[in-house]
Subunit: 196 residues, 2 copies
């Protein structure tokens, strides 16, 4: 049941697995990663942290982790339950995992999962994008073509972007399959595009 809101939770758990952090720092990092557009406000982050505290997924880091006195800040760390929840969420491969934001977060923490999961996520995302492409192209074929140059250019650019994303995913999938050797990646490179 990976709902939309679990995305922040997943990201926070993932980041805290890289070391204890306080809210402000988390927000900065979050904005850097899911940052190509969306900016997460304090009004979402802090309530989310409180909720995670209540659910015992994270806890305040007590004791003097910081040398000497520091400014007022609450440093969080994951609990054992948080670690379990993180693993559970990461291996929960479903439609929600192919969505833009959710996919990015999962990818960012791919090192925490095994190859089987990684492939399922990458392939799932790829077919979802491919479906979109097909659907749009099919519907555009049905409707009488638009003549507006800007509409046409926007559409061309959109299709191109998605196609690039699909190629990127294909390369990654090949890389995953080709494990240690570089061969698969190089092979994928040549099939990418013919020279103009």
């Amino acid at each position: 049941m990976a709902r939309r809101g679990d995305t922040i939770e997943l990201a926070v758990l993932g980041l805290l697995h890289e070391g204890p952090m306080h809210g402000y720092e988390l927000r900065k990092r979050l904005n850097l990663m899911l940052g190509w557009g969306r900016i997460l406000s304090y009004g979402s982050l802090y309530p989310a942290l409180k909720k995670m505290l209540r659910n015992n997924l994270i806890e305040e880091l007590t004791g003097s982790a910081q040398p000497t006195s520091r400014r007022q800040r609450i440093v969080y760390q994951v609990t054992e339950k948080g670690t379990e929840e993180f693993s559970r969420l990461m291996s929960e491969v479903g439609p929600a995992a192919w969505e833009d934001d959710n996919f990015d977060i999962r990818f960012r923490f791919f090192s925490s999962t095994d190859m089987e999961i990684r492939l399922r996520v990458l392939e799932g995302r790829r077919s979802r994008l491919q479906e979109r492409l097909d659907r749009v192209q099919r519907e555009l074929a049905m409707t009488q073509r638009e003549v507006d140059r800007y509409a046409a250019e926007l559409e061309r650019h959109g299709v191109e972007s998605v196609e690039r994303e699909v190629r990127w995913l294909s390369d990654l999938i090949n890389a995953e399959r080709g494990t240690d050797t570089k061969t698969a990646a190089a092979e994928a490179e040549t099939t990418k595009e013919g020279l103009p």
Copy 2:
């Protein structure tokens, strides 16, 4: 005061300027354009249409526009007030106009505005993306570099995508400036990328 919710309104007004349409048809077209990800649900569209009806931006198309009987459907068309509102919204160039969805909609209906506005929107969007790029690169330089390969790959891909978008915008800006001649566009083309 272009808020987020005005995006649907802008899109609906724009589409209805291309001809009268009913809600179901509007949704299909909307999903095709702002469609690379987001899908607009009926639960957002129909209430939005009702609201626009109340504000006299659109009206039900009465009379027999359709030859002979058809199935139950409500065909909308823009009112005079709606046309004014559309012009007003389109020329309202502010931060909201550089946002992903809002930008796409504006671009889609660029033919309805003059070059001055188009350039302001394109340049605004470009500097916004450039700022993002700079900010991210600056902050990444400050923080000690991450070593995780997936995190690094995601970041590389993100930077590349935004850079492509910036180049696309630059080409469009040049094309706008080069008005009737193809020279500017062709010139921009060569600066795009060197051959591998």
